[in-house]
Symmetry: C2
Subunit: 322 residues, 2 copies
Amino acid sequence: MHPTILKNLEELYKTYSAYLSENPFTGNPDNLYDPMNYIMNLGGKRARPMLTMAAALSAGGDSNAVLPVAHTMEVFHNFSLVHDDIMDRAPSRRGQPTVHLKWDMPTAILAGDNMLVAAYRFLFGYTGQGKEAIVSLFTDTATGVCEGQQWDMDFANIEHVNEASYLEMIRLKTAVLLGCCAGSGALSAGASKDIAMQYYQFAVAVGMAFQLHDDWLDTFGDPNKTGKKPGGDIGEGKKTWLYIAAEQMGLPIANLYKEKQDEARIEAATALFKEAGLDTRLLQLAATYNEEANQLLQDLQNKGHQTQWLEELVAFLSNREH
Amino acid sequence: MHPTILKNLEELYKTYSAYLSENPFTGNPDNLYDPMNYIMNLGGKRARPMLTMAAALSAGGDSNAVLPVAHTMEVFHNFSLVHDDIMDRAPSRRGQPTVHLKWDMPTAILAGDNMLVAAYRFLFGYTGQGKEAIVSLFTDTATGVCEGQQWDMDFANIEHVNEASYLEMIRLKTAVLLGCCAGSGALSAGASKDIAMQYYQFAVAVGMAFQLHDDWLDTFGDPNKTGKKPGGDIGEGKKTWLYIAAEQMGLPIANLYKEKQDEARIEAATALFKEAGLDTRLLQLAATYNEEANQLLQDLQNKGHQTQWLEELVAFLSNREH
């Protein structure tokens, strides 16, 4: 641990928080702009803007110059939360009512739409290096995120999902936006497309590891640390990696997911996963992505990049994930 | 009427239709891309791309070079139809089931989101003149359209809407996108921002006249020509210009809108509007916008612009509006 670096990470967080406060959405009617500001101010780790800024610094760039890009990523992320919460019928987000419940569904659709436009507006306000490549990367990423969300919804209606499809779904739904943040940060520092792709792949690998670790925590996590009862995904009948891997092994998991999942079924499914050693295999899979991320980072360090920013950020975000 | 010009308008229509056919949305999963192609291929006048192309020609530009911009406008328009149809709980669009009914609501939200991203993607693919100004105009317009839709939804819950607010709502919801088409077409021809704004204002005025005429047709139109029973807006209790003007005159219109509107109430409201001379006043208001459009066009013609493209397009679209 490098206390100096951690101090600096805090400064990145403060810098972004100040930028966010200074750039509220403004306009009329209130019913359009209030929900946009509401979701942006529910808090959260601000992982995406911080990743964008940290990547800019790692690649020798300026974390202040890249702020409009960093904000674009956070606005886009929050747009996707507003719309995903409608699709998933989620009642709450970060302990507060979701936009479609606090207002209504039409308002939530429209607020999301205007946030997607606003994400582009902030991106166009960026005047630094690599703008065209960043706009292009962001646009490809936005399409990928839509594809990931649709795959996720499709999986609910597909009986047999294979592991590769599941990993591709979480890559699109979660990891590519992190990749876009890191890649954009590097591009803002004048990095070549190849180097930017290395930052992108690093953050995609981090995102995969995070998501798989989240899957693990959901089933096997310590409620004293996670703050929620384990087995949520099983209870909802979600076909996560554990379900898919169990099915591939020929285990009788489908029966436990067929009807409404009560406590007994959640316990039985959890026991079945454990007996098959899937808890360990899932952590191992997450570890391979972490290993990939570390190798990419090591290579960047060998090329003279200040990768401690990204190392510390990953450590910082990991600590808050539990 | 200039038969040569009309022939050429047909060619613009064919050119755009060919471009549309050659540029289907492609990707996976099908549940994301099929609804996007479905809505794009339901037909329609293609007024927005044709307006973009006609404005480019009027300003001395190239109607083929501007095709990616023209397509951006049509994709954006169809994105807004998909999302508005969810918000308005509309069962059909152009005689076919709406996307959220043919698929489902989450799919319709996501297809719309990906279309908004795709609209930007096509815009970035444009390589001609005025690109930066067009991107900026389009982004402002997209925000305006969201604001207009929210105002429209807000009006359902506001007891007294004034005329100025209503006109501003239809300007944002309908007219500014037409303005953006004409302005972008002019910018693609290398027009100055002032000239582009003149094209923009021309098309906004045309859009206002169209929308007000639509309001008139909905209540007073000949069902043999419009193909639908008059009084739809009254039946839905919509606060259109007629309602607002009647209320401003102190007429007892609110009572007729309070409960479910049956045939008798529709007839009574229509009679009340007529007795107050509001049918004539509405047509006069539409005519003032047409007059404004003509003056802007005349001025452009005096400056050497080939405005017959736009004159013929307006005539062509008006004929199909009835």
